[in-house]
């Protein structure tokens, strides 16, 4: 974590619709200047005295130095918390904690990177792309979603990336299919050295197996349901293999959300694998 997170009462600067998504720019000094690509923020929803006790996690999409520092969040309405966020207007206040989590690690030397995003998962890839390009890396994008209005950031990807490949499941934009259908071709053509991915767990599993086939490193940003975002509640865990080869139930909020893809036991997410440290039925438990 880049120093300890701060809690700020931010002011909403702008709200806008981007296809199926809402984008919210919030003045949040202290959060903005310390955010690195892959960080997220915990947002209190519902206003003072809210009955919604848990903060909602959102990836930091964009950071700008204006007004002491702004962060932009991109989200789709899923339930009551995101519905409340979608109703915010300029000059409303928003309580956020951040930056949270471990950001994407960057390669030391220039190399070729494929950035894969599904739906709003691509939101955190553009700041990452900027950082990689500043290090002299070549970047190629693969963005996908079920339909055209849910592919986020296609234009920007086309401007930034050496190549950009789009996929939709209904064929309304780009190739019909999933990001994992086109990824092998993109990796081969670009002779990619690294893959970065952000999106639903199922997609991260697919991307990881493609990268493993090519024998190149893959960094994935996972999305697990979180209650605190700061490491104290232990609700956001998933099975991850450590450097010592031992599987542990680690917290997505502080040990992640970015992990090396091949270390995440995607098939066992939502379970406690029998060989995980401290699993029931093990020698002690």
């Amino acid at each position: 974590m880049a120093g300890s997170p701060v809690q700020v009462t931010g002011t909403v600067l702008t709200t806008r619709r981007v296809d199926a998504y809402h984008a919210l720019t919030v003045v949040a000094p202290g959060v903005a200047d310390r955010s690195r690509p892959g960080h997220f923020v915990g947002v209190a929803v519902g206003g003072p005295g809210t009955s919604m006790l848990t903060r909602r996690a959102f990836a930091v999409h964009d950071v700008k130095p204006d007004y002491g520092g702004t962060v932009e969040l991109v989200f789709s309405v899923r339930g009551p918390g995101t519905a409340w966020l979608a109703d915010l207007r300029a000059r409303d206040t928003l309580d956020l904690v951040g930056p949270l989590g471990r950001p994407f690690p960057l390669p030391r030397d220039p190399c070729t990177c494929v950035l894969v995003g599904s739906e709003y998962g691509s939101a955190s890839l553009f700041a990452l792309g900027d950082a990689l390009q500043r290090r002299g890396c070549r970047i190629d994008f693969v963005l996908g979603a079920p339909s055209a209005d849910r592919v986020f950031g296609a234009l920007r990807a086309r401007r930034m990336g050496e190549t950009t490949t789009l996929t939709t499941e209904d064929g309304s934009l780009g190739m019909r299919g999933k990001v994992t259908d086109v990824l092998p071709g993109v990796i081969a053509d670009a002779r990619a050295d690294v893959v970065y991915a952000c999106g639903p767990m199922e997609m991260l599993r697919g991307v990881t197996s493609v990268a493993v086939e090519f024998d190149i490193p893959v960094q994935v940003a996972v999305e697990e349901a979180m209650a605190c975002g700061i490491g104290v509640c232990m609700t956001c865990v998933l099975p991850v293999i450590g450097d010592d080869g031992v599987t542990r139930m680690v917290r997505a909020c502080v040990d992640g959300p970015v992990f090396r893809g091949e270390r995440v036991r995607f098939d066992d997410v939502g379970t406690i694998p029998f060989d995980a440290l401290g699993a029931p039925g093990g020698r002690h438990a």
Binding site: T54, A225, A285
Partner: protein, 287 residues
Amino acid sequence: MRLGAFTTRSITMAPRAGRPTPRMAETPSGLLNAVGLQGPGIEAFLTQELPWLAERGARTVVSIGGGTVAEYTALARRLADAPGVTAVEVNLSCPNVEDRGRVFARDGSSAAEVIASVRAATRYDVPVIAKLTPDVADIVAVARSCVDGGADALAMINTPVGMSIDVETMRPSLAAGTGGLSGPAVRPLAVRCVWQVHAALPGVPIIGMGGVTTGRDALEFVLAGACAVAVGTALFHDPYACPRIMRELEELLTERGFDRLADAVGLAHRPPGSGPRGRTDLEESSL
């Protein structure tokens, strides 16, 4: 301003991976959780976490959880020579493997057995706190058994068991099915427990908890009979809740003319019509 103490999650003998996910579901003004005491086990706690807390000058209440009386006792023994343990809190809401999984806190005699054994294994100057569940027919009876067993103080409440069902998947929201309910949704239940136990055992220090989010909520527990107040779920919403709650509580006490928190403890029990300073017989707790 300094917080009284930090209470750890319950520490177990062996490392525990906990329950499968989803472990959490938000409910109106509440939170259901089924974490299943995930933790690194006592050895890692003693070598890594406790020294880290001590270095930062935190007064630490170590919560322990076990499946048998022997396990609780072994935990207490391991803690007895560890520096930096301010108090030992016994989480009695654990299934007793020797009693077909019945939770210790639901049975006065097994709760008392655990407490007596932990008390005997703990240094004389380290208080032993019994943490109680509201999921019992008579919380006063369990509280009394724990005090008879040697508990120096009582903590209440642990989370009552609840459930929520996802109407999309038409399955329980939590992988474990049921979970513990916390947050403001349980506060009236918690205040009632503190009230009843304080009325029956006025000399026993009580740590009140369950849905405290403001100084006003903390004062409610104090007036019901708690001499200390703990904060859990509120921290998920507001990581800086504790210093704020303390500040708010101090202001409320000052506004009401109290010099010391101890003067407000249990004050709601005074008969109607008597003055606000009805009780001066309570000693300030050492906790």
